[in-house]
């Protein structure tokens, strides 16, 4: 298949792998964080770590929007969904994220209507088809999905739809990366920058990482060769003593982002003073809420929510995993109490979560896999 196969070519990967190995200084440990959950998924799904030398470690970052939603927000969503007039919509991988009393599937088993949609615009269709119901879209995601939520609200406003609103949980990537950089227990050599977020925000917002923190960042695509090439570019920067923002994903990411998408976000949403991130705690100016002039579409204003902060289960070490301090398997409950069937932490829920990816795809040491895979 065009545009896919050429980015999964094993021969090219082997050649790149040799170049990566040649760039690594013996005895030096390299730790790179892939910020985005989509990258984590690719790395595990394709077995990419098999191409890396032992002294290059990938640390899985906080860029999985499903993983950083705090339990309290899930509870709030379910609270709204319990109103008999409400029909809630959300993205597929939200359905299994646990709140304090169960996930959306459990909630549906108790009578709510929370439907999976593929695009926020589908919620408008549902709203038009169900004029007697209040359709609430549970919006999540980074700057990647925020523009489509914003465009949906703009369209709803234009159509004068009165039975549609948004429960806004959009978050922003830069404050999260900054929180990680400021975390004292972390030692990273560079970042594999998120690709899809950057299609919207561009590459400029990362410049402070190179300038103020002296760390290289390479914005990367989502095919395995994209990631392998980004690792090569990071190692080359280190070898040459540079710390810059580079764009590996130029076929999709413009340096200045997508001004139309940014304008749409700015028109409909504004910064929240602070927002809680699962595992990372409260981060100021890290999330978006609906602007006053779109209050009619703001589910938080239309419906009461308990707004209770639910502490993460004590055993859960999602925070450390999200910051890359712990590898998934180093968490106390990994794979025993916390599994994809019974996730305690959100990292185990989404296929993009580091723990789920490791459990589903990588639950095996690399040496043993290599021995077994020979056919």
């Amino acid at each position: 298949m065009r545009f896919v196969d050429e980015f999964r070519n094993a021969e090219t990967a082997r050649a790149l792998s040799a170049k990566i190995a040649a760039l690594c200084e013996p005895g030096r440990e390299y730790k790179f964080m892939e910020v985005c959950g989509g990258h984590t998924h690719t790395i595990y799904k394709h077995g990419l770590e098999d191409y890396l030398p032992e002294n290059v470690t990938l640390v899985h970052g906080p860029g999985c929007p499903v993983c950083v939603i705090p339990m309290g927000r899930i509870d709030d969503a379910i609270h709204i969904a319990r109103r008999p007039e409400v029909l809630m919509t959300s993205f597929g991988d939200m359905m299994r994220v646990p709140g304090s009393g169960g996930n959306f599937f459990d909630s549906n088993a108790e009578g709510t209507s929370i439907r999976m949609v593929y695009s926020p615009l589908d919620s408008l269709k549902i709203a038009r088809q169900n004029p007697d119901r209040q359709v609430v879209f549970m919006a999540i995601g980074f700057e990647t999905t925020a523009p489509s939520t914003a465009m949906t609200v703009l369209r709803a406003a234009k159509e004068g739809l009165e039975n549609f609103s948004v429960f806004c949980n959009h978050i922003m990537i830069i404050p999260a990366i900054k929180a990680i950089l400021d975390s004292p227990d972390l030692r990273l050599d560079g970042f594999i920058g998120p690709g899809h977020v950057s299609t919207v925000i561009g590459c400029r917002p990362y410049e402070f990482i190179a300038r103020d923190y002296g760390k290289p960042l390479v914005v990367a695509g989502f095919e395995p060769l994209d990631i392998l090439q980004s690792i090569y570019m990071l190692l080359l920067q280190l070898r040459e003593g540079r710390a810059e923002v580079e764009n590996q994903y130029a076929r999709v990411v413009p340096w200045d982002g997508n001004p139309t998408a940014l304008r749409a976000i700015g028109e409909v949403m504004e910064l929240r003073p602070y927002f809680e991130w699962r595992g990372l705690g409260f981060i100021s100016h890290s999330a978006l809420r609906m602007r006053q002039r779109y209050a009619a579409f703001d589910a938080e204003l239309l419906f009461e929510t308990p707004g209770v902060r639910v502490a993460d289960p004590k055993a859960c070490q999602c925070g450390e995993v999200l910051k890359g301090v712990l590898k998934p398997w180093e968490c106390k409950v990994f794979g025993t109490a916390c599994t994809p069937e019974t996730p305690i932490g959100t990292c185990m829920v989404s296929p993009e979560g580091a723990c789920a990816a490791y459990y589903n795809f990588g639950r095996f040491t690399r040496t043993r896999v290599r021995e077994a895979s020979v056919t």
Binding site: A10, H46, G92, T145, T342, P351, F361, F364, A372, T375
Partner: protein, 356 residues
Amino acid sequence: MNPEEQVLDRIERARRRRPKVREERVTLAHGSGGKATRTLVEAIFLEAFRNPLLEPLEDAAALSVDGARLALTTDSFVVSPLFFPGGDIGDLAVNGTVNDLAVSGARPLYLTAGFILEEGFPIADLTRIVDSMRAAAQAAGVSVVTGDTKVVQRGKGDGCYVNTAGVGVIDRPGRLGAATVRPGDAVLVSGPVGAHGITIMLARGELDIEADLVSDTAPLHGLVAALLAAAPGVRVMRDATRGGVATVLNEVAGAAGVAVVVDERAVPVEPEVRGASELLGIDPLYVACEGRMVVFVDGAEADAALAAMRGHPLGERAALIGRVKDDPPGLVLLNTVFGGTRICDLLVGDPLPRIC
């Protein structure tokens, strides 16, 4: 063992524990064919009905009655939409049960048909469904010999549900079953995977993706007969319905205590199925088929089995996709197109589209 291996060892022990249903209510995940379904079946149904015939949890039970060996199976069909490109709930209901019998090594003979109809359901639609059942039964050489009809109030059903049960006779000596699989065996698939599941997802019209795709629904008894005649060393066959090929591989790896190593490049997938799967972020290995089977066969007979399948119209694109090894027991490993290796585990529920 290093710390990571200790953790992995602990996990494997945890996975071997007796399954327990933790939910207070049934959720959709319990019907998806993945881990949640397995837990429900083992913890509730097997626990209650436990007997030696049920215990292997094969697609059909193998019974001995007065010296005759019979296979018995049942299946319910709740597909939505009822009509889709390449088929409808009617031929699905016949082929599904015929296939469960066929892959158990039985010659399908008789079917039952139960209908749960919703008040207001158009008679024209019912006629259309029954007509395709008749045609499918004729094609499979089976007769529908008894049945049942119930009507529920409007809103209490989804138009039409169909249940079929089937009985067949096992002519062939020897026993098929996942437990007979051993290291050195070859793993075959009878054709391109995932077409049915993707067709249904697209037919629901929620995706705004258009593709020239039809369901792969088909009766497999003829293909099975050709295969068994050419390769008596077949260990087990499974039709890869809910949960897809990956689920079948996991079931067999678990039951036989072997490793299954699959070569991703060798797995046939139609470009339309691949395209839709890539867009949705799901893996065709987990997508349902309704006319495809996975075959484990003695490694020495792999070529003969493959040739026999390819000689049948439903197996023209059959492929050897992997091998059975002894270590790591119970796991399915995938050698990826990219050249890496990863685990290919059971899913918890339905494959959910990813947001980014």
